[in-house]
Symmetry: C2
Subunit: 109 residues, 2 copies
Amino acid sequence: MTAITSLPHPAIEDVRLTDVLFALSDPARLEIVRELADGPLSMAECGATNPDLPKSTKSHLMKVLREAGVVRNEPDGRRRVLSLRRSELDEAFPGLLESVLGARTDPVG
Amino acid sequence: MTAITSLPHPAIEDVRLTDVLFALSDPARLEIVRELADGPLSMAECGATNPDLPKSTKSHLMKVLREAGVVRNEPDGRRRVLSLRRSELDEAFPGLLESVLGARTDPVG
DNA sequence: GTCATGGTTCCATAATAGTTGAACCATCCT
DNA sequence: AGGATGGTTCAACTATTATGGAACCATGAC
């Protein structure tokens, strides 16, 4: 049984490359993805970089990432666990996540 | 000497990953990049997929790609030659272009 | 049950991005 | 010089996206 509070996630075959690229094209979202690359985090744990980000805003950033197929958002007690859909994305778009996570974010110098 | 009609291009060190990802996140722009992956094209040659795209619109798409650091736009007689900044991007963001160009664009099935 | 916690959703507003005709500009050709 | 060609820029409009407070919803603790 799926809990009512589960949020919809696209099947990996339905994930569009351009949507993934768009989701990753925002600095705040990319930072979240970088954090999740080290393992799942709850909402509260995630986004340590932006400590004073309103929760509705953070929730919206997560929604964009989730609907693009980049992250999973699973209920766990009264928290939610965010995780990068890494293995699925690696199959769908080989090398993409690796290159993005390995790349510099800011201009050099 | 640089001709007056040259357009500004960011130095590769100043190119931001998020700007590149954003530029690639639009289907029309991504299609242009795919075409340019096979070699430089003039404006008129490029965008064969969208034959009835107004030229101002196409010019704007190119501007986004150019300002993000993805393509070069060099005057050549009364035409302009568009080219992918491939080797520069490969150095700045190893593997990124390869994975994007190699990936499927549309959902499977 | 009540309450605090952790989070989503709704709504209104602000900001950014896309579209396109018209005007413009430079080049080549005669 | 004039005209056609290939393209950029401008301006106005539309559309999409971001932001964040307030309301709401589950869960766990008591």
